[in-house]
Symmetry: C2
Amino acid sequence: MTAMIFLSKDCDDIMLEKDLTFDDIKPRLLGHWGTCPGLVMVYAHLNRIIRKRDLDVSPGILASLWLEGALHAFYPEYTMTSAGLKRLISLFSVPGGFPSHINAQTPGSIHEGGELGYALGVSFGAVMDSPDLIVACVVGDGEAETGPTATAWHGFKYIDPAESGAVLPIVHVNGFKISERTIYGVMDNKEIIALFTGYGYQVRIIEDLENLDNDLAASMEWAVDEIHKIQKAARSGKPIVKPRWPVLILRTPKGLSGPKKLGDEFVEGSFHSHQVPLPKAKTDKAQLDLLTEWLRHYEPQELFDAQTGEPVPEVLSIIPQSNEKKMGMRKETYRAYQSLTTPNWQTHSAEKGGEASCMQAVGQFLRDVMVENPKTFRMFSPDELESNKLNAVLEKTGRNFQWDVASRGQGGRVIEILSEHTCQAMLQGYTLTGRTGLFPSYEAFLGIVHTMMVQYSKFTKMAVETTYRHPCGSMVKTSTWARQEHNGFSHQNPSFIGAVLNLKPKLARVYLPPDANCFLSTVAHCLRAKNYINLMVGSKQPTPVWLSPEEADLHCIAGASVWKFASVDEGKDPDVVLVGIGVEITFEVIAAAALLRKLCPSLRVRVVNVTDLMILSEEGTHPHALTNSSFNTLFTEDRPIHFNYHGYPIELKGLLFGRPGLSDRVTMEGYREEGTTTSPFDMMLANHVSRFHVATAALRVAAPRNSSVAVDAHKLEAQLKHMAEKEKQYIYATGKDSDAIYTVPKFE
Amino acid sequence: MTAMIFLSKDCDDIMLEKDLTFDDIKPRLLGHWGTCPGLVMVYAHLNRIIRKRDLDVSPGILASLWLEGALHAFYPEYTMTSAGLKRLISLFSVPGGFPSHINAQTPGSIHEGGELGYALGVSFGAVMDSPDLIVACVVGDGEAETGPTATAWHGFKYIDPAESGAVLPIVHVNGFKISERTIYGVMDNKEIIALFTGYGYQVRIIEDLENLDNDLAASMEWAVDEIHKIQKAARSGKPIVKPRWPVLILRTPKGLSGPKKLGDEFVEGSFHSHQVPLPKAKTDKAQLDLLTEWLRHYEPQELFDAQTGEPVPEVLSIIPQSNEKKMGMRKETYRAYQSLTTPNWQTHSAEKGGEASCMQAVGQFLRDVMVENPKTFRMFSPDELESNKLNAVLEKTGRNFQWDVASRGQGGRVIEILSEHTCQAMLQGYTLTGRTGLFPSYEAFLGIVHTMMVQYSKFTKMAVETTYRHPCGSMVKTSTWARQEHNGFSHQNPSFIGAVLNLKPKLARVYLPPDANCFLSTVAHCLRAKNYINLMVGSKQPTPVWLSPEEADLHCIAGASVWKFASVDEGKDPDVVLVGIGVEITFEVIAAAALLRKLCPSLRVRVVNVTDLMILSEEGTHPHALTNSSFNTLFTEDRPIHFNYHGYPIELKGLLFGRPGLSDRVTMEGYREEGTTTSPFDMMLANHVSRFHVATAALRVAAPRNSSVAVDAHKLEAQLKHMAEKEKQYIYATGKDSDAIYTVPKFE
């Protein structure tokens, strides 16, 4: 590790036969030394026990990966020779080399740090449905301060020891984060034992510096025994009630075995060892000499063969012999993708012309997916399965909550912990090891995992670029602001769409299916998709079914189409194009079209629904983006277009900006962050997306081009204004929307 | 509470003298009954002890607020009469009434639920620098599952009992969330006591249903005694080492005193009581009768005066006499804003033409702010103060980490917990009680609090609309993707800008000051601002100082201006306008202008820097938005414009969309999510924002209009491409950028 931080490609003497010179040092010194000694020690001991007990353990770190040959397996240039070792050292953390922390390029990794807090939750997700796998998860005491980690400790309460593997958490308490003491660092052993006992663990603390190796070895043996005891009981049909899984606390000074002091400042055992302990080694002779001394005391000559540079047999002796046992070469971390058998969604299709809840229909479909994929599909939800009307899945499976003595008998494929962070982390661990997961959540609260989702997609991007990976993830988001009126302002926030729009186009998909059949078709498609973040925005309330199953499939494949039944002359030669994006919002567009048909028959209206948001983006910027010519076929070449959009208009503007000459013929309305606890239709009024607003907008933009419309425009606007006010009065008088608002418009 | 959920305005018999009829029931039944009994009980007992012990305790809930007259104080129509009571009941959770949960309209509230997890952290922030205040924070066992709450329990470790008040956490364990058991609900008392002992608390469990009142009363007496003991010791100069603050665990069945069963389903003590226990009361006779029975067993006639409808003296006897003691009328929750004395920033200004780190300069300024505002200004950071080079503040104050025996002596104004959630929650509690806070963080990780920030701004919006509030908050975000090359891809994510752009314009401000003087001017401005989310994006690395202090002030007031020193003929009659937004990005624009001056002297370039992003938004959509005419004065009426932007281009497109006829003369580059561990300039190359890309873009857009440019355009493009490749080769050969890249361009 030390050599990797400091030694440049000009250093040919990595065995330190001569003293180092400034030329041997890298121009930019980057890395995180402080935590390395502990990690290396843990890795070595994991190897020891894997070999001794023939275990399946994940995952890995860089230098150790070279040592076990995993690096060489995926990056042939990293040979087990002095050349390979030198490459590892000199290319570490420089352009073209490996970064200073584990990322998707690192063999065996299923999680990148940087944004801290999720390693533990990801580990729990990774062991689900892999009964023989043990994931050793090292949690630093910095990461332990994060909220997501603080609640992820409960994760094992959702692990069924009969069907899933185990996580062995190793808390690495070295006392410091970047520049401040850590909370765990200032907690004494009594406090730590009490805390983890309360979480439900058996705690073993490893801190005797004189005897670290034996202590760590014995502790791992103990931990693995405890894990097997719990699993054996569960698998023999006599599960232990509230089984107490093991946790190891490793207390070592930060930067153990590094320089003790630099001038008067402590280095070992202080935050000074967090990144680069000898920052001036390239220019300061004293620091350079300290470095020589530091590197020499590891006695490289004893560790590597003088000729070949290969590690000596004694070092290699702890490494598992078979490749698939090596932590850096676990199949789970690559080539692990298992595609789903997706049943025919049409068996759950809703009848055209009727009403159906998107979520209820999807729930029935997912129930069948559960049945046909008993080991490769799971749902993670912050206790929102019922309230999102997806509960049909519970007919064929249960909620897996082991700690609940009453319900643990049943186990099941649904995890409901009121922690979006834990749901997302488990989803990531589960999908990055080749399975498929679904995360139903309230629209307003899905943003809680905004950055996690971004990190996940970054990991996916890198993973896909390094050829050997196939992760896969899906999200459903529902209960949109448009139907959160009773919960009020705090439950209204569609901004997660924008978060997904910012992702690399090749990884991001956003769908707003307008009815139950379209939603079914979209879910069925997304469950088969690989390496995407699929965001689906729908409604749980019953809404009209506009399209037959066949029409729905065609509409979803196209991403958008003219809805002839709501358009004049099937939308030919229109004065105005009205576009609906989103369930409730599209209903208002159709209602507006019906209003206009009655109030202003001479106005030629074309109604378009967009279900795949990405088709709007500038030609060439996204795989789904329409060419400019097909865009104009759909939206006309020169007619005014009014968008009625579910999300923030600024997102739509961003998507449309590059389309030639559009800005002067486009108007739009969307979520304005208005409205609190009120009725659904009052939300439409407050945010200017109601049928009355749409119809008014249509008249305004069409009038300049259509004289017969212009004549009546003002009169009609006043009329629409009046109708809107009447609805508002009704709502505030009765506390509810008038039934008329929900009757499906007729087009004579 | 029950009456509020069910009884409509048509019900004149709120004392239940007759049986209820369907007409008495609201059309839409909304609310969250399950948790009410516990909350009411807690509120009553808090009142009791406030009155008995003359304490200062915050905050409140709706029905109790009516009872204590706080509702009447802020909303005169809610009189303490049967009319007022009826209003409270019939308008609850209907359009125009109060929502079904506490929000900014609720007197005494400083936090809205909905998105769960932050009540505890907010409470810790609220008591800081208010030595006599006790915030009683009720945490449900649903909320307790969230990550942010799970780590916020450590919050008291950052509270100095000598200078700050105390939080009294009351964990309300009723066993169920929306439809699943809770983690705390299935933990036995041993587990809960161990967990909270580990967190560092003294635990007292209240669960004897036969004896709840006495037990709760005694427990509160005990808790207050313990709090005073800890505070007394600290304030007498003999602080207790690791003081153990009290926590109360209240175990009651969910929906206690509600209907026991509905058919065969349990209601009391099950998730069925979460929202509306008798959902069909409007149509089902059996449920209606159950409701009558339920309401009657509270014996309303005993509680209210038959004539006036006023609560009987016995009920009122527990309410504090003086208004300022009433939890719904705490001054801290309104009229609490204390403006800062902001020192003159110019004393820390950097010399024009030199180099300076924005963050270092700001750090020195903030040090003075700390000194001049010893009780009203704090900084909250996830251990990123040092790494963001703001450490100058530590010369005059310390980090407040009470649990660290070594450092706790000093106390201090800086809180560094590695939990963005806790930092943001404490910031909210501190600012919503009238003080000012700053949250320095890495750009990529600030998004962790995306939804918290949105909720905070929603609360602010509502608070501002209800006239009596003046919160204030500021955020600084630094260490942008442009300088995260060594940490790699995972540390690169400017998406938080987009999150702020989505907020209500009147609440949101985004600044990207181009140099140290501009950053100082901006911070000084933001610390004086009220009710805004101020987002400032800067760099911690030394960068050129382009403007003098005076020029910087003018530039920041304007929000954007032509940089004549980098433009041809001071930017008159340009062929192309080059716009830089962001520190490093603007440097590249200036370098590009210098390159073009040399390579293509006939090309007339205007260089513009934008420091206030909001000036770009469509005329009339934001207070800072430029009129179209001033926009054209700055960016010309018809010349091509190339934007070099720090964030995601889609955001910029969204801002510019409404500007007439702009899309066909605008090109732009921004963050493309490219690059990993590499050199800073390689990041510019990878994301197409380097000087070479800017110069190339300038030539391409200018060529069609300027024949003399057109002639050489292709040759010059090839030349620029070659220069870029040479730099890249240098970077990969040496591991660093060439010095030439950082030398400030000269304009002859």
